[in-house]
């Protein structure tokens, strides 16, 4: 028996166990700290601010919860959203996120720590990412070993795919959902392993929490039944599965039905039917196995098997009938778009218009997961092979065998499903990330295990050179092995572990177990693992010499370091922008903050009437409600397609058509985003086609997408823009007085890189553009008035004029006010007809 390097011998097993446990705690604490710290770029670079769009609503709801209490929040009807319809907020949201921060907020205040609710919300996601790291550790520990668990925790702690949804300030449901997801899976694995009703109930309670927190709970609803189903198909049905699944399903379904937004969906919609079906199947199976245990006849078994199949067929068929009859709701559009990526674009443009619902681009896999994506398949293959299980036989013997276990099947199924979904939709990258971390951790940990193990292959001779044989002879403790493979290294590896750091923590456990059982029959997991791969021969596999080990280990370390660098870089550059505040650099290198959004929102908040309705495209609804505190027509909760289409129509129609729409909806202000001056590409003109498409979906006769393109099919805002384009309210509001900034020079739209006719739209003289040499100066409005424009012109707010007091139409009224002569050629009556 030879070893590549020697390990200290005289350390007591209890010392090793204690040190290993301490090291694990320290490592987990450091991983949590790293996970939290790497999410604070946004706070440090900008400020403690809520990001993006949806978080603003969650923040607003949380404020209501914190200030008015839970019951007020539960019954909250928000009259300012979806004006004039309003929104029953309590019944249309997943309250888990708000309740979580509400509890944290109240707990802190009870301890006399008067933390601002905003800071609770901002820091919730980083805090929960530490918990996610911990539950990933637990899950991976169940898969392979604590050292693999630590690696997985470290990966999930800093992997960009998860950070993208959990930086400080990204106060969204996903912030807590991934933690709940991982912990539910852990509890499920635990329940399955132990056949424990207690862990099944824990899984169910966390599942209930998940349902309260995120619409993505359907992923768990289908993952666990799928796992159970695969286990049954593999012939792995056991009473443990029965207990775990039944306790999870029964309690979990009841828990999920407590959320008003979900209500009776768990028994009425197709998404939940798989879980119900598997539940029934399991009952039948257990019944079958009960009978089988009493009547041991293979003939009878076959009959039973057939009857089970028949019942399943009846169940599925019955479900089909129920769906067809409408008792069970059919699949929703969002669900179909998971299978057919073109579906949404055809039928539900509103879903397709969200960038995070687009299919994932290949580079983003590397960007979000870096080298984990390469290790992911390796990890899955290793899981197929399984990990060594040590069993203590009643005789006191310990046997270790390497085989695939139920939990490995779970991760494999999870990996397959999540990979598919991540390919379909960008946002589902989030569900793929944890399983990638788990699998990659299994892979890396396996690699490190093999190459850190000091035992060298034994080819029935001596070691390579004298020095190493010396080391080996001091290392060998005269321990024999049952499986025929020498296991002197078992103790040696274990003993060395503390000095090798956390990565070999797994071996300590093996060593401790070995030492505890019987030092003379101790077996190292790896040894037997390798021996099961290769039929037991006299040759013990292993690695020769230190050079090979060092090469591989250094390479792996370098990969890990590059991973850290990559994560830090991607997090700081791509995922830490609040998008409410934009940053640019001054010529001297200092940071320049572009704060136009908040400037305009705050202006609205301080200087307009409290009930003044603001119309904007739905993207900005939550922000207006949160920051400007004004009623909005549509917001990011896109539940009413017609209402959104109405806004789209108003934006894409000429003034005469838009004005009655605005007045009918009591709109006082229209807010648009215009990036043409500083080159902000996310502006409304770039989103304009979606408004047109969504409006076209409802009014196909009035709005037609092709009208907004040039005859050559180009999307243009310059002199070649189409008539519908330049007469649309959106176009005119965007470019109103824009040319004056250039003082007669060339008017350049910096987003679209197009040069506008130097004389530009006026908002009144519609129809006077003969053909477009139509100068921007001619752009005047009849029905709206510029009310506010932010510093960099990103946000422009227009006030809607009230009807003329003298009963004139607004165009002639404003023409009169400007001292213009009424044009004989354009009789008013004709224009009236257009309005009607």
């Amino acid at each position: 028996m030879t070893a590549a390097y020697s390990l200290p011998q005289d350390i007591s097993p209890s010392f090793i166990t204690n040190t290993a446990s301490l090291l694990r705690i320290v490592a987990l604490a450091l991983i949590s700290a790293a996970a939290i710290a790497s999410r604070l770029f946004a706070v440090i670079n900008f400020e403690s601010i809520i990001h993006e769009f949806d978080p603003w609503f969650n923040y607003r709801a949380t404020r209501v919860l914190a200030s008015n209490g839970f019951y007020e929040f539960w019954n909250w009807f928000d009259p300012t959203a979806w004006y004039p319809l309003g929104r029953v907020v309590g019944g249309t949201i997943y309250p888990g996120l708000m309740a979580t921060s509400g509890i944290i907020y109240n707990a802190l205040h009870a301890l006399n720590l008067p933390v601002d609710i905003r800071n609770v919300c901002v820091l919730l996601a980083p805090g929960f990412s530490a918990l996610t790291a911990f539950s990933t550790y637990l899950l991976t520990k169940e898969m392979k070993s604590p050292s693999a668990g630590l690696l997985a925790a470290a990966f999930i702690g800093i992997v960009p795919g998860y950070i993208s949804r959990s930086v400080a300030g990204s106060y969204d449901n996903e912030a807590i959902a991934i933690f709940i997801l991982m912990f539910t899976f852990y509890a499920w694995i635990k329940a399955l392993k132990l056949g424990s009703g207690f862990w099944g109930a824990v899984a169910a309670l966390f599942y209930g929490y998940m349902v309260a927190a995120w619409g993505g709970y359907a992923f768990i609803t289908n993952m666990i039944p799928l796992h159970a189903f695969v286990l049954i198909l593999m012939g792995r049905y056991s009473s443990r599965l029965y207990v775990a699944y039944s306790s999870w399903y029964a309690i979990g379904t009841l828990a999920s039905m407590q959320v008003p937004f979900v209500g009776f969906q768990p028994v009425r919609t197709s998404e939940h039917m798989a879980a119900l079906g598997i539940f029934g199947l399991l009952q039948l199976l257990s019944f079958a196995s009960l009978i089988r245990s009493h009547v041991s006849s293979s003939h009878f078994q076959t009959i039973l098997f057939v009857s089970v199949l028949a019942l399943t067929a009846v169940g599925v068929g019955g479900m089909g009938v129920l769906t067809w009859k409408g008792w069970i709701a059919p699949w929703t559009g969002r669900f179909y778009s998971l299978w057919d990526t073109g579906y949404a674009k055809k039928y539900i443009p509103i879903i397709a218009s969200v960038s995070e619902h687009q299919p994932t681009a290949w580079p983003s896999f590397f960007m979000d997961l870096h080298f984990l994506i390469f290790l992911f398949p390796a990890g899955v293959i290793l899981l197929f092979r399984g990990t060594p299980t040590t069993t203590v036989l009643p005789s006191g013997q310990i046997t270790t065998e390497t085989k695939i276990r139920d939990e490995h099947v779970f991760v494999i199924v999870y990996a397959v499903m999540a990979s598919y979904f991540a390919g379909v939709m960008v946002r589902l990258m989030l569900t793929l990330t944890p399983v990638v971390c788990v699998c990659a951790a299994v892979g890396v940990s396996e690699l490190l295990d093999v190459y850190l193990d000091p035992s060298e292959p034994e080819v029935g001779g001596e070691g390579k050179d004298g020095e190493e044989s010396d080391a080996a002879s001091t290392g060998s403790g005269g321990v024999t092995a049952t499986s025929g493979a020498p296991s002197a290294t078992a103790t040696a590896t274990g003993v060395a572990s503390p000095s090798l750091g956390k990565k070999s923590a797994k071996k300590e456990k093996a060593a401790a177990a070995a030492a505890a059982a019987n030092s003379s029959t101790g077996i190292v997991a790896l040894d037997s693992l390798v021996s099961t791969l290769h039929p037991p021969t006299r040759t013990k596999p292993g690695i020769w010499g230190l050079d090979t080990r060092l090469t591989i280990l250094l390479n792996t370390t370098a990969l890990l370091l590059f991973f850290v660098l990559h994560c830090t870089y991607v997090t700081s550059s791509a995922y830490s922008s609040p998008s409410v505040v934009l940053a640019s650099q001054n010529p001297d290198g200092s940071q320049h903050i572009i704060d136009d959004f908040r400037e305009a929102y705050y202006w609205l908040r301080m200087n307009t009437g409290e009930g003044d309705v603001v119309m904007s495209w739905w993207d900005y609804g939550y922000q207006i409600a949160g920051m400007a505190d004004r009623p909005t027509l549509v917001d990011n909760n896109t539940w009413n397609n017609t209402h959104i289409a109405t806004v789209g129509k108003a934006m894409s129609s000429p003034e005469e058509i838009a004005y009655p729409i605005l007045r009918k909806h009591d709109v006082s202000y229209v807010l648009i985003i215009f990036g043409g001056l500083i080159g902000y590409s996310g502006d409304d003109i770039n989103k304009f086609l979606w408004m047109v498409r969504i409006a076209q979906g409802v009014w196909p006769d009035e709005i037609q997408e092709p009208n907004y393109f040039t005859p050559q099919g180009e999307y243009k805002v310059d002199a070649g823009a189409s008539k519908a384009m330049r007469e649309s309210l959106m176009y005119k509001m965007s470019y109103y007085r824009f040319h004056e900034l250039f003082g007669g020079g060339q008017v350049m739209d910096r987003v679209r890189g197009q040069q506008l006719p130097s004389v530009g739209p006026t908002l009144d003289v519609l129809g006077t553009f003969p053909s477009f040499s139509p100068p921007l100066t001619l752009l005047t409005f009849g029905c709206v008035d510029e009310a506010f424009t932010s510093e960099n012109w990103i946000v422009r707010i227009y006030e809607v004029k009230k009807e003329d007091l003298l009963g004139r139409d607004l165009k002639s009224a404003s023409g009169f006010a400007e001292g213009k002569k009424r044009k004989r050629s354009k009789p008013v009556s004709r224009r009236r007809a257009v309005v009607a």
Binding site: N112, P114, I593, A600, M606
Partner: protein, 491 residues
Amino acid sequence: MKLWPPLAVLCSLLAVDLVWAAHSFENTAIVRTVELGGSLVHVTTTYAIKSLEAGSSRYTIALGRDEHQKTSWLEVRLKGQQAALPFERHGTHLDNEVYLYDVTLPKALATNGTANIVVETVQTHATYPWPQEAAQSEDQALKYESDLFVLSPYETSVQRTKLRSSTPSILSFTQPEEVSFATENPATKSGTTVTYGPYYNIPASASSDFIAAHQQHVTVQYNHGFPVLEVTKLKRAAEVSHWGANLNIQDEIILHNAGPRLKGHFSRLQHQTQSYYNRPAPHVLSWATLLLPAGISNVYYYDLIGNVSTSRLRTAPSPPKGLSQAALNNHFSTLEIRPRYPLMGGWNYSFTLGWDAPLGDSAVWDAKTGKYILGVPVMTLIPGAVVDEAEVKIVLPEGASDIEFFAPFPALSNTLSTHISYLDTTGRPAVTFEYKDLTDKHTGTIYITYKVPFLAHLKKPIAVGMAFFALFSLAMGWRRVDTRIHTKQKL
């Protein structure tokens, strides 16, 4: 002086009984100078007095009703001297038409003895924009209204009122007609100044008869080059930490531009053009300069929706100890503060401004009494702004006792309350002062003395220590107690 109603009623009741002593003095001359401003108007009235009796030491000044209502600050001095003379409310006379104050002269005058008394007042809300609306490019015109005659319970030989504007453009002023006591043109304008008077041999005027017979109302309309600012509400909170040797001051400010309302709509283009050519409109507040104390750190400036990044700060180090007051006045940090958007006429803006200052700069420990003495300034001046309502809350350390406070001018109300903040167990005592209509003269310091027993200092460490001890004890117990219902069988 705006006093709250009960006192005013009481005073007017008392006034009936007061003996009218109108014959002890004669005004040889009264000159009133009004510095026309925005929300603050500084009025200086110089009385050249001659005693008619020996031993007269109480001189009475009179303010008309409107004048009294506008006046938020009043100070009386002898000409050429720094020290303010004590004065007290004499009471109201004649149906609330005239308000009288008794000034006690430092020494009694002999017969025919003379003195020059300077009365400085600051009037708030004394001007209003006229026209009420102005477009973005237009000038800002204000109107100021005043009484023609300075009232006095004594006979006056000669009297003048000068209204001085900071810009040379006085648009219009009332040309009073049929002015009694005038010998020549009752009103003249030269450059930036409108002069009413001189008027000769005015009888004792602090009476409703005189007011009914002779008093007239005059109005001046002038251009004002700076925005008219009002702080509708100022909430200052000062929190002392002896552990951190820190005094945190936080102001919550609601700012209103009380100048002419913006006519039409705001045009960014025009605003950018104006600032490009450096010709900002006079009624737009783009930025303001605030003088904060020296030695401050961690200055923050945010509003309801987050940090405002558009401001510049230049901090000065803490002044050395033992500097004279005059030298201290030159030590300050400068904050150039910009609202999120330029504040046009009629617009509002609210924000929060706060900073940390070393405690040593504003507190000392008096070994003789064993008390801390802490000074907190009533407010930080926003130039040219009047503070309509102010609330100053001083939060003392937990366990502070024997609290005494000395305000530089009387507050509307003081309340003692308990404020609970980080790591508190029993809460911190807090003193709240409420004020109205503060002007640039109200920049005094509130002094508070209090004791903190040694044990009170240790409250927080003990509380935190106990909490952690309990936590660890629980964890220890948890580790050692087997919570399983039945012990695990070996498989």
